[in-house]
């Protein structure tokens, strides 16, 4: 008899990811991913000026403000066939990269490392031995005995107080936790240091975007950053140098700490290269444009079917015709009216809530499909699509990751093993390392272009009298983001956002095909079903983000996500 487990962070304002799994013989036999809140924010946009859309869309999500702003201006520019000056492309690229670096650091350390790191083992660690271990795998200068000792003292103080605070809900001592005390201490020390470096990345976004969390420097047709080398208030050489300094520190942290830690942790949990695969269709769009018209990019895109990496289909541009024409959204199992599939330009968002029913409708998330197939998006898709095309930067860091894992764990790693829970973590570290290198490149491109005397940052948009459609994409930290706009008479006629977590958290479609979260959980072994750490590991590996829209504080204290065994 299957046991049903529901993991649902219950709050009164329901807007969270909920996972239901059925467990038979200590392994997941069926799974459902659902989102518990309807937003329908896109409706607010209808009738508004397309030039303002980005100001609204960056309020979709409090964590990913920047990415929704960027996809929105790109959607309008695509509709108007409006080119973007080089300086504006570089400034935008730098903002996107800095945001992604911040996001990836936070994801690994603050949001998912504790799925693998057992805090309660740290008091048993030896800081001197930890230093020796750390020095054997990285040149990071802050791998000192003093920093390890200070981190250990913090944990000892928390443990001694009896108030576990932020660690209250961890599955400490769980049989699936397997790192040695010294490795636990190493990772935890970097968890503390990560806070400083994610902040430095965010400072870059703030300098270029004027403000965080809501940047102010975008405009349809470019950016609003005045470039003037003689003005203290404009983008000048001092500011560019400040950005360079911040980026150098962040890049070093990514290459010497984050990348190394992910490889080390992966080497010690090799069985997780065999768990969590699921949907092996992958989708990523090209990003970081290198010219005004958006014909060449620093990051490649394409799609993969059924794990056939050799058969990857590349996309030429970020709004490739194949991409535009292949996407639909299915509401067979989502709480919306109708049962068919619609292209986002003709998408509808008419709610019809019927309660959770795993056989019928069970989620507020629509099921996006590419040629009718569910697709996995995110760093793994980005890396596989790039690797298949021989993209040099992808190959460089993927190869390095494989050799790091082999060196630390003494196990043979093949690219095929990336279709897994650990593969998603490794791919994110690979992608972050690539982006770190590209951050420095794009800063140099911007500096060089300004030095040539080009101060142009904006092209004036011109709206035609007839109806136009546009798609704006961004290969965001969580994967392919696309905003779809229909413009008529200088007003927004329709607007739909297909966000990365919609692809990954997709419910089943009319054919019954699972979405990526659901498929990835099937067959996962659970050591203790009432403490489903393994389910969290796989779901976290996707870096879900779906509940950011509504933020009411719940004073009842019900912010407890309890694994309910039904």
């Amino acid at each position: 008899m299957a046991k049903r487990i529901t993991i649902d962070p219950i709050t009164r304002i329901e807007g969270h990811l909920r996972i239901d799994v059925e467990v038979e013989n200590n392994a997941v036999s069926n799974a459902w991913a659902s989102c518990t809140m309807w937003r329908g924010i896109e409706k607010i946009l209808r009738g508004r000026d397309p030039r303002d859309a980005w100001l609204f869309t960056q309020r979709f999500c409090g964590v990913c403000t920047t990415v929704h702003a960027m996809a929105s201006v790109r959607a309008v520019e695509d509709g108007l066939k409006l080119e973007v000056p080089l300086n504006a492309q570089y400034v935008r690229n730098l903002i996107l990269i800095a945001h992604a670096l911040h996001d990836h650091i936070v994801h690994f350390y603050q949001l998912s490392a504790l799925d693998w790191v057992d805090i309660m083992q740290i008091p048993k660690a030896d800081p001197a031995a930890t230093q020796k271990l750390a020095e054997s795998i990285s040149p990071w200068t802050r791998n000192s005995r003093n920093e390890f000792k200070a981190a250990q003292d913090r944990v000892n103080a928390v443990a001694a107080s009896g108030q576990l605070g932020i660690f209250m809900n961890g599955y400490w001592g769980h049989p699936a936790m397997r790192l040695s005390p010294d490795v636990n201490l190493l990772a935890f020390t970097h968890y503390i240091q990560a806070l400083e470096y994610q902040r430095k990345a965010l400072q870059v976004v703030g300098i270029l975007g004027s403000k965080t969390p809501h940047i102010q420097n975008l405009t349809v047709g470019g950016v609003a950053n005045a470039i003037d080398l003689d003005s203290a208030s404009a983008l000048n050489m001092d500011r560019l140098e400040m950005i360079r300094g911040l980026l150098d520190e962040v890049v070093q942290f990514i290459h010497q700490v984050y990348f190394v830690d992910v490889c080390a942790v992966a080497a010690m949990y090799p069985e997780w290269f065999k768990i969590g695969s699921g949907v092996r269709n992958y989708l990523a769009v090209p990003d970081l444009p290198l010219d005004s018209a958006g014909t060449s990019y620093d990051l490649p895109g394409g799609y993969i079917r059924d794990g056939n990496i050799a058969g990857t289909h590349p996309f030429k541009t970020a709004s490739d015709k194949v991409f535009r024409d292949s996407i639909s959204e299915d509401v067979a199992h989502a709480y919306y009216q109708g049962g068919g599939t619609l292209h986002p330009w003709s998408g509808e968002t008419e709610p019809q809530f019927t309660g959770w029913d795993g056989e019928q409708k069970y989620s507020w998330v629509k099921a996006p499909r590419f040629n009718g197939q569910p697709m996995q998006v995110g760093p793994l898709a980005q890396v596989l699509v790039g690797f298949a095309q021989g993209h040099p930067l992808t190959v460089k860091y993927a190869t390095q990751a494989i050799s790091n894992v082999q060196a630390v764990g003494g196990i043979r790693v093949t690219p095929d093993m990336l279709h897994s829970t650990l593969g998603r973590h490794a791919a994110r570290a690979i992608r972050a390392s690539m982006l770190a290198e590209l951050a420095q490149k794009h800063l140099q491109l911007l500096t060089d272009n300004i030095a040539k005397g080009d101060y142009t940052v904006h092209n004036q948009p011109v709206f035609p009298s007839h109806e136009v459609e546009g798609v704006g994409t961004h290969e965001a930290p969580r994967g392919t983001l696309s905003h779809w706009i229909v413009i008529k008479d200088e007003k927004i006629k329709n607007y739909q956002a297909v966000v990365p977590s919609t692809w990954n958290a997709s419910p089943r479609d009319a054919s019954g095909a699972h979405g990526p979260y659901e498929a990835s959980l099937l067959h996962t072994p659970l050591a203790r079903p009432e403490e489903p750490l393994e389910v969290l590991r796989t779901v976290h590996s996707f870096d879900p983000c779906m509940a950011c829209a509504c933020h009411a504080f719940d004073p009842s204290g019900k912010q407890i996500a309890k694994a309910k065994v039904l």
Binding site: P9, R48, V63, V539, M546
Partner: protein, 183 residues
């Protein structure tokens, strides 16, 4: 000089959830503050909130609260009380996380000495840029509570003469104005 943050939290596109940012803007339009005081629209941060509150002496956050109380009630929560809540099991790692933020800041040793959450019970969270009548009626009291907290902490402020114009986020529904004016 004290470092003070007055931050409005909430989504301006989801009806009464925008009351935090709205109140922050209202306060900034009516009052001037001593150096070191920041009044910010923080949107809907998750753990990013750690960066905003870290190293501050006094933090005052304004947020809608989901509670079975009459809409438009102003409720105060202090740091110790908030920290007694359990942090969420991070199913969706980006979920709103005031409790997690405070507990993490405490672990990192950067938590503010004093934190007050000024909560306003909400009526409606449906997608729109307007506040409901009950919540609008509570704004003046929310402002009074913020000023009282500044008094308690001996932070100086004075009435702005004349008050500056309030941004247009909340006029946008009726007039379809550009929110650029509100930036």
């Amino acid at each position: 000089m004290k470092k003070v943050l007055i931050g409005g939290i909430g989504n301006v596109l989801l009806g009464d959830d925008g009351v935090g940012p709205y109140t922050a803007q209202l306060l900034a339009s009516r009052y001037e503050f001593e150096d070191g005081v920041e009044v910010l629209d923080l949107g809907t941060p998750a753990l990013d909130l750690i960066d905003q509150i870290s190293g501050k002496d006094v933090v005052i956050l304004i947020d809608s609260v989901a509670i079975d109380a009459t809409p438009g009630k102003v409720l105060l929560y202090r740091k110790d009380e908030i920290m007694q809540h359990r942090p969420a099991v991070r199913m969706d790692p980006h979920s709103p996380a005031l409790v997690d933020t405070l507990l993490s800041a405490e672990l990192f040793g950067v938590a503010p000495a004093s934190l007050l959450l000024v909560g306003i019970s909400a009526e409606c969270y449906e997608a729109s840029c307007s506040l409901s009548g009950s919540v609008k009626a509570a704004l003046d009291q929310a402002v009074v509570e913020i000023l009282r907290e500044l008094d308690r902490n001996r932070v100086a402020y004075r009435t702005r003469e004349p008050a500056t114009a309030l941004g247009a986020w909340w006029a946008t529904d009726e007039k379809m104005e550009s929110p650029l004016l509100a930036q």
